[in-house]
Every structure is written in C-alpha cells, then in structure tokens.
C-alpha cells in the first residue's frame, strides 16, 4: 500500500532534486560537493524505493531502500569527516 506521506515525501524529494539540478553549477562550489550530493541522491533513491516496494518486489526493494539509507548515512559521515576532520580546513 502506498501511504500518503510517502507520496508527499517523494514530491518534496523531487522538488529538492529539481532545486539541486537547477543550481548544480553553484552547488559545485560547495566543499566535497560530490560526496554531499551523492548522499542526497542515495536518500532520494530510498524515497523512490519506498513507493516502488508497494507495487513489486516488496521485501527486496524495502531492503534496498534501507541499504540506500545506510549508504546516504555513510556518505554524510565521510563528508563530515573530510570537512570537519583534522585536515578539513586545509581541504
């Protein structure tokens, strides 16, 4: 079953995607932007998978959804380490 909040989440996620794609050149100025944006894309993928798991391959896609959450979390951790770590300032 597709829940209402999942639809809203997907729409908000797509809105965020449009924002990112629209400001891509400017976002590239951010430090380690590729890691950060990749983290967002992983999160967005999980939001999409949440919808898809309601239609097919429920368990698998749910598992992948959580893998994406974890991937996004790891990328965020890596990004924070690179930016705020000991050598973050130099970078």
């Amino acid at each position: 079953m597709i829940q209402q909040n999942e639809i809203i989440l997907l729409l908000l996620g797509l809105g965020a995607l449009i924002f990112i794609l629209g400001n891509r050149p400017r976002l590239q100025l951010l430090p380690r932007s590729k890691i950060l944006i990749s983290g967002f894309y992983m999160l967005l993928a999980s939001w999409i998978l949440t919808i898809l798991e309601g239609f097919l391959l429920g368990e698998l896609l749910n598992f992948i959804e959580h893998i994406c959450y974890a991937g996004s979390a790891v990328l965020m951790a890596v990004w924070c380490r690179q930016v705020f770590g000991k050598n973050g300032r130099q970078r």
Binding site: Q3, N5, I8, L9, L12, G13, G15, A16, F19, I20, N23, R26, L27, L29, L30, P31, F40, L43, W47, N62, F63, H66, I67, Y69, A70, S72, A73, V74, M76, A77, W79, C80, R81, V83, F84, G85, K86, G88, R89
Partner: protein, 734 residues
C-alpha cells in the same frame, strides 16, 4: 536481529559519527548558519534511523508515529541546507573576490605610483581613466582634474623641432591595435607652458578576449638626457672639428697597433692606403710587415708615458721624415692602457733645413778657410804681379825673355781669377761695382771654360755693346757657372749660343719691376733640357738634377744677379735645350773702351810730386807697391801697421812734408788694420786722403769704402795702371 535492522543500525551509527565529527570539528570549517542547519539535518536523520533501527530491530515501534513527519522534513531541510550552504559560499567567495580586487587595485595603484615614467590610461574614447604622479607632475594636471577628460585636452604633444602638433597617440594605437613608439623629437607642453622633451609609446589595453577597452600612454621626461646628448654631440663635434682641422696627422691605435681612427690629414697623406682604419699602422704608414724600430708607440705601450721620435715617413712619398709623439690612452678607473694617440708632424722641410744648415755651416767653415787662403794668396800675387809687370816695363818687347814674362803674366791672371772665385764662393759678399766690358768678360770666361770640350761657342754680341755696372769677378763667375752647366748638358757636344744686346729704357722686366738701361745676355744650349716640374726649383740652394751637382751653382748665379739689381730667367724644353736670359744694369753713358795693351805708364801727372805712405804688413807687397809708385814718380814711405802709420803721418806733417795719400791694407794680422787706422787718422786730419787696399774684394769695406772715410780702393792684386788711375783720381779730389 533482522538484517534490515542491522542496516538501519549501521545508518544510525554513521549519522551519529557524522554528528560527533561535526561537533568535534565545529570550529574548523564553514559558517555558523550552515553548521546549525547541518546539525539539524543530521539530528533529524539520526532520529529517523533510530526509529527504523528500533522498529526493524524488533525493539519498539514507539517512535514510528513521528517517523512520517521526520521523513517529510528531511527533503525540506536538505533544500534549506543546500540553499544556505550555497549562499554562504557565494557570499564568502564574493567577499574574497572583492578583497582580492581591493588588493589588486591597491597593488596597481602602488605600482603605478612607483613607476618612474609617466603613465596615463584612457578608455576607448580617449578619456583619461588613470594617471600616475609622474604624469600629473609632467602634465600639470591631477587625476581628479583630468579624470574622464579627453587626453587631447590634457596632453599636448608637439614636434620639438617644428612645434607642430604631433599625431594623436590614442587614435594611432586604436587604429593599429599595436604598441606604437612615437617620434624621437616629441615634446610635451605642460599646463603651465613648460616644455619637456619626451620619449613616449602607446599600447592598447585588452581584456581576456583580446578586445581593446583602453589605451595606456607611457612617456618619460628626456629633457635632461637630450640636453646631455646634445652636449655630448657638441663635444663630439668640437673634438672632431679639432681633429679634422689640425694641420698635423692624428692617428688612434689600439694596443695591437691597429688603426682605430685617423683624421683628414692622415687620410690625405696616406691616401694610397685608405681606408686606414682596421689596418696595422706599420703596414699603412711605413709599408712594413713589422713594427718600426725605433717605434715610440711600442715604447709608449711599455712605459705608459709619452714617447717621441723622428722617424722616416712612407717610402716613396713626399713625407720623408715625421716627428711622432705617442700618448697613452688610459682607462680612467684601472689605469690600464687601452690605446695610443699618435700625433704626427711632417718634418721633412725642417729636416731638410737642418741638413742644409749643416751643409751651410760646413760651407761657411770652408769659406772662412778659403777666404784666409785667398787673402794671403792675393798678397803673394800682388808681389808677383807687380814685379812681373815692372820687369815687363823695364825690358823691351823684343827681348828674348819678354814672351816668358808675358806667359807668366797670363798665368798670374788665371791665378787672380781663381782667387776671386774662391773669395766670392767663400763670402758671397756685396759686389764691387765697376764699369765692366761684358763682351770681353763673356768671351774670355766662356772660351776658358769650354777649352778642351766638344762644345762650340757661337757669339753674337755687337761691338757697341754697353758696359755694365758690375763686379767683374762675380759676373765672370756667373758666366762660368752657366757655361759649365751647358757643357755638362751636352755630353755629346753641340753649340752654345751667346747673344747680347743693349736694351735702352727697359720699362718692365717680367717678375721684376725695373726700369732703365740694361744689357741683355742670353746663353742657349742644345742640351737635355730641364723638366718643367724642376724649373721653378733650379735656383734653390742645394737643388740639383745632377748626381754630382752641389746645388750651389745656379743658386750663386741667382744671388749674384739679384745683388747686381738684375734679373735672370730660364726657358727649357726637354731634349731641345735650355736658355738662360740675364738682364744687367748698363753703365750710364758708358761706351766701350778700347783695350790698351800697352798703357803709357811713363806719363807724368800730378803724381810726380806725390808723397805716398804705404801701410802693409807684407814686406813683399810694400816693396812692389813702392816700386810701382816710384815708377810713377812718387816719393814713398812705408809702415807696417796702423800705429806705425799714425806716427809717421803725424811726424811727416810736423816736419812740413805731409803725405798726400795713404794706402792702407785693410787687414793687418796682430795690428791695427786699415779700417781702424783710417778712423784714427781722420780724427787727426779730417782732410787725409786714404785708399784702402785688400785681397778681400768682397769685404763690405771694399764695396762701400766711402762709408768708412776712404777716398778710393785698390783690389789686390792690382796693376800699375790701376794704381796710377786710382791715385790720380784721389789726388784730384778737393
């Protein structure tokens, strides 16, 4: 645990790690707002993954109701985070760019102000956008005053020579699009009218795409430099002027004796070797492969001091001797010799003069010797001549001894002639003028000098040729010299034509403005002639075209003719012959006298009662003169010197038997001579009649005896007839 729960737990731990990292490195990076948002985002995510972990781990679903709201907030927070992060970065970047721009502007400003040249920048329309202080100083405008004004209003550039406006540099650069250097003679007229000589250039200002968006004009005040250059040029011209106008040669050499520079005189002297620069001096100046010896320049290089020498000039050139001064050129700082200045003076003439002077001194010494010999010889001849003549008078002409005596007499004449030539050569003194029968002198002299040669003399002289006023001995020498020259010019023989004519009232002789009566004598030979280039030099002393010539013959001829107030000229055609033409003053109202071969010496005149005092240091002379006088009927007394003469003259006067005439020898060795004695005698008796006698026929006293108080003169050796005539002439004087 459910595998999904494990994955969620990993996600939870990762976010937790991120949060811890953020907190620990809070101060290290990023703006405060970004970090707050990031903290919020991470916290929200942490809650989300905590809820998942608890749910899928099978622990509790208590947080599940909040999960939906948390998830919905996540994309919103991401967008906020991105937006804030992006804005913060952009703001930071803008600040950084602005700061960099400010620093760049400041750097540009400092740089511009530090440039020693004037810099003016304009936009594409030529309006001024920047000026540095040097530009402000030179133009007299500040940037505040000149900013945005057209360059042409502020910068007035004119041609320094014509004062015409120079081309607009902005237009020129805009048109060409290249860096443009402007003419050298440009001047900037400042706001206050001050004129600066400038060197300027213009360049386009381009952006990254190469588009011109302005022009920068750079110029500097060259007034001082131009003034120095002008001064240098003036100095250079001044030095060049000296170098080129000096009448002596100047040559600059390097230390290897290579010619670096020469002046005009050197180029003229050594014209066959020009250009001289770059060649070795010994090669150009001396046609030598090695340095000269001595070489003052080589010595100068070794000693570092000025050296000098007189050395031979270029072989075969007119410059036979040069005086060479070598001055070292030293480096001002190190003192090292870097070259040589050679100062070269042509001393050929001076050297010749020195040689001539040496010759002249030698000749003078020989002359003094010859004069002394001639004097003594004349005294001897006087004794011989007088005695022979007395012997001739005392024996009849048909006596068997008479021809021998006559021959001896003729030989004596030749001896007299030789003595006179010796005296003339020795002293060359003033001629003793007398009426001279030129025809007789010419014939005698020419025949004498041509005797034994294959040259035939052809005379064309009228019988009524006027006498000349001349020194017979000197004129004879002139004829002799010309005859000898003619004979030497015709080694294979030929004819020598001698013509003479009386020229009455000659108004003008070429080259000499003389008037009066002259006798013209021309002597023409058929010899080798004289080349035209030598003709003007043939009367110069020591000039000779003959290998064995002394160079004195024609010089003596010229000197004698000039002293006779005459004129001599020469015409010559090579291989045809040479003609010498002489004009000599004719004796006024003179008529040719018929030679008296046997004068009537027995004629008695006033001399018969004459009382004569003869002063001479030579006893032989005294005796023969005494005999001559006694032959003429005079009574004679003798004295040996001036002192003796004065005593005898005074004594005779006191005794009432004064002397009518005193004959004084001019030169008395070791005693008072005629000149001094006459002075003293005239002091005692101003009316005393004194005749001077000497073998020094060329002595000034003999030539101008009147000036010394003498009434007459007798040139030794003299004949009885000469003695009688002079005594009669003086005796008849009042």
């Amino acid at each position: 645990m459910n595998p999904i729960g494990i994955v969620d737990f990993i996600a939870f731990m990762a976010i937790l790690t991120a949060l811890v990292t953020l907190w620990r490195g809070w101060k290290r990076a990023l703006e405060h707002d970004v970090k707050l948002l990031l903290t919020g985002l991470l916290t929200l995510t942490l809650l989300h993954y905590l809820s998942n972990t608890l749910e899928w781990g099978g622990i509790t679903k208590a947080l599940d109701p909040f999960e939906d709201y948390i998830e919905i907030l996540e994309p919103v927070l991401w967008v906020f985070f991105f937006y804030t992060f992006m804005k913060t970065i952009e703001t930071t970047e803008r600040k950084r760019v602005l700061e960099a721009l400010r620093k760049s502007e400041e750097s540009l400003h400092i740089t511009l102000n530090s440039i020693g040249d004037a810099v003016i920048a304009t936009d594409t329309y030529g309006n001024i956008t920047r000026m540095n202080p040097v530009a402000e100083k030179l133009t007299g405008w500040t940037i505040e005053e000149a900013g945005n004004k057209p360059l042409s209003e502020i910068v007035h550039i004119v041609n320094a020579l014509t004062k015409e406006p120079a081309i607009n540099p902005i237009k020129h650069v805009m048109k060409s699009g290249n860096i443009v250097g402007f003419a050298n003679h440009t001047a900037l007229i400042a706001r206050d009218g001050t004129e600066y000589q400038i060197a300027d250039s213009g360049a386009p200002i381009r952006d990254d795409n190469g588009n011109i968006f302005g022009v920068v004009l750079i110029f500097r005040d060259m007034s001082e430099i131009y003034a120095k250059e002008q001064k240098l040029r003036e100095n250079e011209n001044f030095l060049n002027s000296i170098l080129e106008n000096v009448q002596d040669g100047i040559s600059i050499l390097d230390t290897k004796l290579t010619i670096v520079h020469v002046n005009r005189v050197m180029n003229k002297w050594y014209s066959e070797n020009v250009p001289l620069e770059g060649k070795k001096c010994f090669r150009c100046y001396h046609n030598s492969d090695n340095p000269c010896n001595p070489c003052p320049s080589m010595r100068c290089l070794e000693s570092g001091k000025t050296e000098m020498d007189v050395i031979p000039g270029l072989p075969g050139s007119d410059i036979q001797w040069i005086e060479l001064y070598s001055y070292p050129i030293k480096n001002h700082d190190s003192g090292e010799i870097t070259g040589i200045i050679e100062f070269i003076k042509d001393v050929t003439e001076r050297k010749k003069t020195e040689q001539e002077l040496l010759k002249s001194k030698k000749m003078e010494s020989i002359g003094i010797l010859a004069g002394g010999i001639a004097h003594d010889f004349n005294n001897i001849l006087t004794g011989l001549f007088g005695n022979i003549e007395l012997a001739k008078l005392n024996i009849p002409q048909d006596h068997s001894s008479y021809p021998y005596i006559e021959t001896a007499n003729q030989a004596l004449w030749k001896a007299i002639h030789l003595t006179k030539q010796l005296l003339t050569f020795a002293k060359g003194g003033d001629p003793i003028f007398d009426a001279v029968d030129l025809k007789s002198v010419v014939q005698t002299t020419v025949m004498f000098n041509l005797s034994g040669s294959n040259v035939k003399a052809r005379f064309n002289m009228p019988d009524n040729l006027w006498q000349i006023k001349a020194d017979k001995g000197q004129i004879s020498q002139v004829i002799a010299n010309l005859t000898i020259n003619a004979k030497q010019a015709m080694p294979e023989g030929g004819n020598l034509y001698i013509n003479a004519a009386t020229i009455k009232d000659l108004n003008k002789i070429p080259e000499r403005h003389l008037s009066g009566n002259f006798v013209k004598l021309s002597i023409r030979d058929e010899g080798v002639g004289i080349y035209p280039k030598y003709v003007e030099n043939i009367f110069d002393p020591y000039f000779s075209t003959k290998q064995t010539g002394s160079g004195l013959g024609l010089a003596t001829v010229h000197s004698i003719i000039t002293k006779h107030n005459g004129h001599i000229s020469v015409d010559s055609i090579p291989d045809v012959g040479t003609t010498f033409t002489i004009f000599l003053p004719a004796e006024k109202s003179s008529h040719k006298q018929t030679a008296t071969t046997h004068p009537d010496l027995t004629e008695r005149t006033k001399l018969a009662s004459g009382h004569i005092l003869v002063m001479d240091d030579e006893k032989t002379v005294r005796n023969v003169v005494g005999a001559m006088l006694e032959f003429c009927g005079c009574t004679v007394a003798f004295s040996s010197d001036g002192k003796d003469t004065l005593e005898k003259y005074t004594s005779a006067d006191k005794n009432g038997n004064p002397f009518d005439i005193v004959i004084m020898d001019l030169t008395i060795p070791g005693g008072i001579g005629g000149k001094e004695a006459a002075k003293k005698l005239l002091a005692i008796d101003p009316e005393a009649k004194i005749i001077v006698s000497s073998g020094y026929s060329t002595d000034p006293v003999m030539a101008n005896y009147n000036n010394y108080g003498f009434k007459g003169r007798l040139v030794k050796p003299f004949q009885t007839e000469d003695l009688k005539k002079e005594l009669s002439r003086v005796m008849e004087m009042e």
